[in-house]
């Protein structure tokens, strides 16, 4: 496989996981940027465990996920049902604090960065195996009572509470699940790149992920599966003459999509219509 395709597919898989980690808490109306902090922590842990302690990949993945869960779990006791922008600022604050901690830790390479993370064989198929598994779990959550409860909380917290939904516990559940996904993404990212630099985990990453989530569609998990490859591919296809305007193109794309297609490229309604057509077609065939 050509390196271009390999990295394109790998980053697509990792970004889908990260977008899902933003999608899940957004089901209850929270922009949970804390997931980027989870990604940072688990990436550094994975790099360190692989290089310094020679831990096996499977163990690192498990511990990476646990780190993501832990980072989201502790604040979730306070912000499980907090207003969206409180969650935003707490996320950004923890990213900043973790970044500062990394920059001041010589063992993690400080500001120079951490390199020399050993490669893993068959990382790409492993990534997609994990993406598919995570997707199946999210699909089950979306189509369970939890998913329906989240939809009510998104529309109106008070109504949700009146219906007997524990808004805080539901929020905590989605935040922790997001942490697990981000922890997994962080581990895969560390092994894919082979080196980590604290500057990577900044506002730009959040902007890109938000663009992918909202352009694809924030009302369904399938949206990012369409938008991530398009936006990842866009930068590979842009001619070098306009390459320097990439950020502007991203920003304009997002504004136009949000204005023209309010739910993004893939919406729940669109999926229901598609489902109707498919089941209609099948029943016609059966008749």
């Amino acid at each position: 496989m050509s390196p271009v395709l390999y990295y394109f597919l790998s980053f697509t898989g990792i970004n889908i996981l990260m977008c899902w980690s933003l999608y899940l808490p957004y089901r209850v109306g929270q922009l949970h940027y804390l997931t980027v902090a989870c990604m940072l922590a688990s990436a550094y842990f994975s790099g360190f465990a692989a290089r310094e302690w020679s831990w096996p990949f499977a163990l690192i993945v498990v511990v990476g996920i646990l780190i993501g869960i832990l980072i989201c779990l502790i604040p979730s006791f306070a912000i499980g049902d907090a207003p969206c922008f409180t969650v935003v600022i707490i996320g950004l604050t923890i990213i900043f604090i973790l970044k500062t901690a990394v920059e001041n830790s010589p063992a993690l390479g400080g500001t120079i960065g951490f390199f020399g993370i050993p490669q893993v064989n068959h990382l790409l198929p492993l990534t997609y195996l994990l993406v598919v598994y995570a997707g199946a779990v999210i699909y089950r959550i979306d189509h369970s009572r939890l998913g329906r409860a989240a939809s009510v909380v998104f529309v109106d917290k008070n109504t949700a509470a009146a219906l007997g939904i524990d808004v805080k516990r539901l929020g905590m559940f989605f935040q922790v699940a997001a942490g697990a996904l981000a922890g997994l993404a962080g581990t895969l990212y560390a092994f894919l790149i082979g080196g980590l630099f604290p500057e990577f985990f900044n506002l730009g990453v959040i902007g890109t992920l938000m663009c992918m989530l909202f352009a694809g569609g924030h009302t369904t998990m399938w949206g990012v599966i369409v938008s991530v490859p398009i936006l990842e591919g866009m930068q590979l296809l842009l001619p070098s003459a306009i390459a320097s305007w990439r950020q502007v193109i991203y920003a304009l794309t997002l504004i136009v999509i949000v204005l023209v297609l309010p739910g993004g490229l893939v919406t729940k309604r669109m999926l229901l219509r598609l489902k109707g057509k498919v089941s209609g077609g099948i029943s016609k065939c059966n008749n």
Partner: protein, 396 residues
């Protein structure tokens, strides 16, 4: 008189000598190019917060290509610099490196450090020599032999520059160094402190927060320690702002201020202006040098940059393109895709041990990927112009 036989013998001898010479010259001559043009990819930060730095690095590489093409190209074929934008994103750097890593003979960049860290492991794995010339020794050596270090080891290179400044200020005993924790700057700050310690000057550090909006509080903190002088290891814009604040708080002796090379960038001069008068700065080239080549470069740079002068980093990739030219011309590199692997190694080995390279500012030699005789210049700033005080050799 020469006999008939003698004449024909002499004729044969001359012909034989000519043939041997011709054969010899054709044996020693580099192979001809098989490509229509030499495409050199440049992984550069063309977007984001340091896009202006990426712009002038790209400008200088394109300028070198333009000059080379005007003079007939490399082995008769034109050179083309192809820009690949990485922003400051490691992810994009890897993706862009993946686009070139299997087809390019040699590459320029990546820039900056985050992108180097992310993309160079791939270049190393695939055996692509990539010239990460904008960074320091610490970063480059991680990826040897698949890159070069543009500078000698940091502790051997920067410490003497700081020591040379301290020697100019004999009464100075205590210096505050403003350090921004970014990439390799902390290790550069350590080298400065070593240099100052070598001449008996004590250094204290005041860290500069990356997202600081005003610098008054930082200056108050520094002045409260009653220092004799200041050293700067932070972004050019911040250096200028802190110096302006120092002036506001009554600091008058500018000769007791030394600015490090990475801040020798346009924002230092456009922001600091008259407040910089009398400050010292060290850098790797002397802009006042009047050689025809430098003059042409400077004039064209100013024409394309609204009259602004070129700065330290603006010449690096200009020299890199000329290094590649010489490597291709002096070896059997043909650009033949079938010989890609071998030709990449030829270029790598030639550049890493290039002797007497004629750079736009100075000539130097490389030994195992590290410059063996590159020093720095100590300047004093007067009305936005750097006046050379002394040339400082690197410590052995």
């Amino acid at each position: 008189m020469m006999g008939k036989h003698t004449k024909s013998f002499a004729g044969l001898l001359i012909m034989a000598v000519l043939l041997v010479c011709l054969a010899g010259s054709s044996l020693g001559a580099p192979s001809a190019a098989v490509v229509d043009q030499w495409e050199i990819p440049f992984l550069n930060c063309l977007t984001g917060p340091i896009a202006s730095i990426g712009e002038y690095m790209a400008w200088s590489a394109h300028r070198a290509a333009y000059e080379i093409n005007q003079k007939g190209g490399i082995k008769g074929k034109p050179v083309k610099i192809v820009d690949y934008d990485t922003g400051v994103s490691p992810e994009k750097a890897v993706e862009q490196m993946a686009r070139i890593v299997n087809k390019s003979l040699v590459s320029l960049g990546p820039v900056p450090e985050a992108c180097i860290m992310a993309a160079m492991p791939l270049a190393v794995r695939q055996g692509l020599f990539s010239m990460t010339a904008s960074t320091t020794y610490e970063y480059s050596t991680q990826f040897f032999p698949w890159t070069l270090s543009w500078y000698p080891p940091t502790d051997k290179h920067l410490a003497p520059a700081a020591a040379a400044w301290a020697k100019e200020q004999p009464k100075m005993k205590k210096v505050i160094q403003f350090v921004e924790k970014w990439a390799c700057w902390p290790s550069m700050a350590d080298a400065h402190a070593d240099g100052l310690a070598s001449v008996g000057v004590e250094t204290f550090t005041v860290e500069v927060p990356t997202d600081a909006v005003t610098f008054g509080p930082l200056v108050v903190r520094a002045l409260a320690q009653k220092p004799d002088g200041f050293m700067f290891t932070c972004t050019s814009e911040k250096v200028a702002k802190i110096i302006i604040e120092l002036e506001k708080y009554g600091w008058k002796d500018k000769s007791k201020i030394l600015i490090f090379s990475s801040a020798d960038d346009m924002p230092l001069y456009t922001t600091g202006r008259d407040s910089l008068n009398g400050c010292y700065i060290y850098a790797y080239f002397d802009g006042a040098k009047e050689t025809p080549r430098w003059k042409t470069f400077k004039e064209n740079y100013k024409k394309d940059h609204g009259g602004l002068d070129p700065t330290s980093l603006s010449t690096i990739y200009y020299d890199c393109v000329y290094m590649i030219k010489r490597a291709i011309e002096e070896t059997d590199v043909t650009g033949d895709p079938k010989k890609l692997k071998a030709e990449r190694i030829m270029i790598r080995d030639y550049i890493r041990n290039m002797q007497d390279f004629d750079g736009i500012q100075m000539a130097w030699s490389m030994k195992d990927g590290i410059p063996s005789d590159k020093g720095s210049f100590l300047f004093v700033i007067e009305n936005g112009i750097k006046k050379c005080v002394t040339y400082v050799e690197a410590w052995k």
